[in-house]
Amino acid sequence: MSYEFLQILWFILIAVLWIGFFFLEGFDFGVGMLLPFLGKKDEERRAIINSVGPVWDGNEVWLLTAGGATFAAFPHWYATMFSGFYLALFLLLVGLIIRGISFEYRSKDAAPAWRNRFDWMIAIGSFLAALLLGAAFANLARGVPIDENMMFTGNLFTLLNPYGLLGGLTTVAIFLLHGANFLGLKLEGELRERVNGFARKLWIGATVLYVVLGIFTYVAGFWNNGHINPGVIPIAAVVVLLVAGYFINQKREGWAFIMVALNIVLTQVTFFSMTFPNVMLSTTNPDWSLTIYNASSSQYTLTVMSVVALIFVPIVLAYQGWTYYMFRKRISTKKENLVY
């Protein structure tokens, strides 16, 4: 396999890992943010958490794998991005830590104050993580200041530009909608009705933000930063989001879920195609950008990693898929049926 082929392959593989992460953890971030607003009684909240209980940790591993794969395949990308986005990533970690620990600890004590505190930590942690990931990706699309030594020269406030903030908020809104659709599929009875009502309202906000983000990207010319024109993919992304609205109103939860999931996938495909072959665009001087060619590992390392990925990715997909199949049943709020 030629060196260039491997570099492109690993760019695609990392894109796939991020797509998997946003698709999967997207709904469990959404579920987390909805938790204190949707669940009024303790059993309701437990039912909501149980909808992602068996899978959230596995979903988060997609992020760890994306991080590990970036380190292995594009060390300069990993080094520049992680050190450059230092405080943003620190806050992301805080978000992930408080939500992760709360999933496991919230039911281990019956005091309402204890449970309520952890429920809010799940919501705040999920919000923080979604916001920061969205802002980080928007900034990657927009470009960040990088000098000739591949060093990020900005700070936290560089990332808090209007486009970055809009990207963050849109991600939050889409994940909320994605989570609501997922819960519509997993819950039953009154709670299911309630979440479907939430989905209708969330759809409006998410769609507005999404369209504004799209227009911003187009007008500012960010879509033209790389070598590949994303073409009709972003338009398709808008279309599936509009179709999702139709299905939400028709209460066809399965189709609504699929459409928003498709929107997330197509958004990521748009992002990665409009960056390619850059992995981090320099706004200081485009010649100083990190690309898949100057940021990658050696041909040998990429070959080894390709063999490893070829063997293990299918196995992981098989058993993760099987888990979702195992836990496909709807969750009732009857106490005797709940795994606490």
């Binding site: 209980g53 068996p54 959230w56 596995g58 988060e60 591993v61 760890l64 794998t65 991080g67 590990g68 794969a69 380190f71 292995a72 395949a73 060390p75 300069h76 990993y78 080094a79 520049t80 991005m81 992680f82 050190s83 450059g84 230092y86 405080l87 990533l89 620190f90 970690l93 805080v94 830590i97 408080i98 620990i101 496991e104 600890y105 039911s107 281990k108 004590d109 019956a110 060093m151 990020f152 020269t153 590992s297 050696s298 040998y300 390392t301 080894v304 990693m305 490893v308 293990f312 990715v313 992981v316 058993y319 993760q320 888990t323 195992m326 836990f327 106490k335 005797e336 795994v339 606490y340």
Partner: protein
């Protein structure tokens, strides 16, 4: 050393030691829970089922912290040590990616099935899921130790220095994963996980035995803990002893520093007590046992052990001027604490095992000391061992290839570091408070309560729905 490097080191050290307070218990306790559940599956003896539930509950409370603090570990290489990541990413990134793909997915997915799957998946699948989760977490330890092994003792056959781009590149993956030093670390560490779990089981069981609660349940647990504790702590010792000889070969400076051997000696004596001056770098006074150090370093009583002064001179010739001596007051004392506590663990578990022959050993006076003592030993020994091995490699981040001071992210400011360091300290402190509260509560509440998610919900559920 500038402030950013210093704060980065403190942050990495604190977050890593913290992370590693929880991980060994995860590594070890998973095997015990899997074993107990297997015994239930084979015998249908209800006590085994309760044992897997009770110890499983403590396993989960502990597991959660290991997981959430683990994400920080993976991110920190890039966040704080970007120059390190550029220089060795070609090699070091690979085992990290494999760890995520091979181990993290397995551990998290099957643990999810184990927690939520009882009664929903077939009993065999439920049993298999705890085994797979235990295997997954131990696999992850193996891969991160292989990565760490490269930092401690980079195998010469695994890498070349690429002059064109100024970084190390991997040339042989099998040399990286076959690194003998790393495998001794794996042996030492996985056995240590087992020992830690065994001692937690001993401590909690003793607490209940002293109070004559659930005697059958906790006597069985105590016996398992004593057998496993003896085997595991012996394995830890043998692994550590083997490591000593490798160290003489690949990291002679660490060996000399942990022993306070100033001048090259043949045969070398073991220092029982050495008092250094305030700089921690000069000996003032010491008591020594002849020959023992030679035995530690090369398994015979007469070999030569290189001293700090000679090594410093050699390194200056090899790598240029600089200070190549680790902070000796730390290496010297952590080594002694680790070793002393390790020996006490071996002796204590042998003593426990010997006493379980008696029918009423729970009445023995020494039992009252076990709950606290057995808990403190492995944690202190473990933390000391890691401080020794990581500080003993200073000033290197990759031994002989890259210094810590050249590895730090150049764009970070003192303010960045203060925010994150204070943030982690507050957050990790709160996590520890919640964790210790829950551990204590569930450990004290005993096996009946563990059959339910929350101790408090248990009484209400017995006999009624609400």
């Amino acid at each position: 050393m500038d402030t950013v490097t210093l704060l980065s080191r403190w942050q990495f050290g604190l977050t890593t030691i913290y992370h590693w307070l929880f991980v060994p218990l995860t590594l070890g306790l998973g095997w015990f829970v899997a074993f107990m559940q297997t015994r239930y599956y084979q015998t249908k003896d209800e006590t085994w089922r309760k044992m897997s539930k009770f110890w499983g509950k403590l396993f989960l409370i502990n597991f959660a912290i290991g997981v959430v603090t683990g994400i920080v570990q993976e991110f920190q290489f890039g966040m704080n040590w970007s120059e390190y990541s550029r220089y060795v990413g070609d090699i070091f990134g690979a085992p990290l990616a494999v760890e995520a793909l091979l181990a993290f997915f397995m551990e998290s997915t099957f643990l999810g099935i184990w927690i939520f799957g009882e009664g929903r998946v077939p009993e065999k699948v439920h049993l298999a899921s705890i085994w797979l989760a235990a295997i997954g977490s131990n696999l992850s330890a193996i891969w991160i130790l292989l990565a760490n092994g490269f930092m401690q003792a980079p195998p010469a056959a695994s890498y070349v220095y690429n002059e064109a781009n100024g970084r190390l590149e991997m040339v042989n993956f099998f040399a990286l994963v076959g690194n003998p030093k790393a495998w001794i670390f794996v042996w030492h560490t996985l056995a240590d996980g087992l020992a830690m779990a065994a001692f937690l089981i001993l401590a909690v069981s003793a607490y209940h035995l002293v109070r004559k609660q659930n005697l059958d349940f906790f006597k069985r647990s105590f016996q398992i803990g004593a057998v496993a504790g003896l085997i595991a702590s012996t394995l830890v010792f043998l692994g550590g002893h083997t490591m000593g000889q490798y160290m003489a070969e690949v990291q002679p400076m660490k060996l000399a520093a942990l022993e306070a051997v100033w001048e090259t000696e043949q045969p070398a004596s073991f220092s029982l007590l050495t008092i250094g001056d305030l700089s921690g770098k000069r000996e003032v006074w010491s008591i020594r046992i002849p020959y023992v150090m030679s035995f530690l370093a090369c398994n015979n009583f007469t070999c030569e052990v290189k001293g700090v002064n000679e090594l410093q001179a050699t390194y200056e010739q090899l790598y240029g001027p600089g200070d190549y001596v680790p902070l000796m007051v730390v290496t010297y004392w952590t080594f002694r604490i680790m070793m002393a506590f390790g020996f006490v663990m071996m002796g204590a578990s042998a003593w426990f095992l010997w006493n379980t022959r008696r029918k009423d050993y729970e009445n023995a006076k020494w039992m009252k000391l076990v709950p606290f003592g057995a808990l403190a030993l492995p944690y202190i020994a473990n933390a000391s061992g890691w401080i020794l091995t990581e500080m003993g490699r200073q000033p290197w981040i990759v031994y002989g290839l890259l210094k810590v001071e050249d590895a730090v992210s150049p764009n970070l400011t003192t303010v960045d570091l203060l925010i994150s360091l204070i943030g982690y300290t507050v957050l990790y402190g709160s996590l520890a408070v919640a964790m210790v509260y829950l551990m204590k509560k569930y450990a004290i509440a005993g096996p009946e309560a563990a059959m339910h998610e929350s101790v408090d919900a248990a009484p209400a559920l017995i006999g009624s729905q609400d």
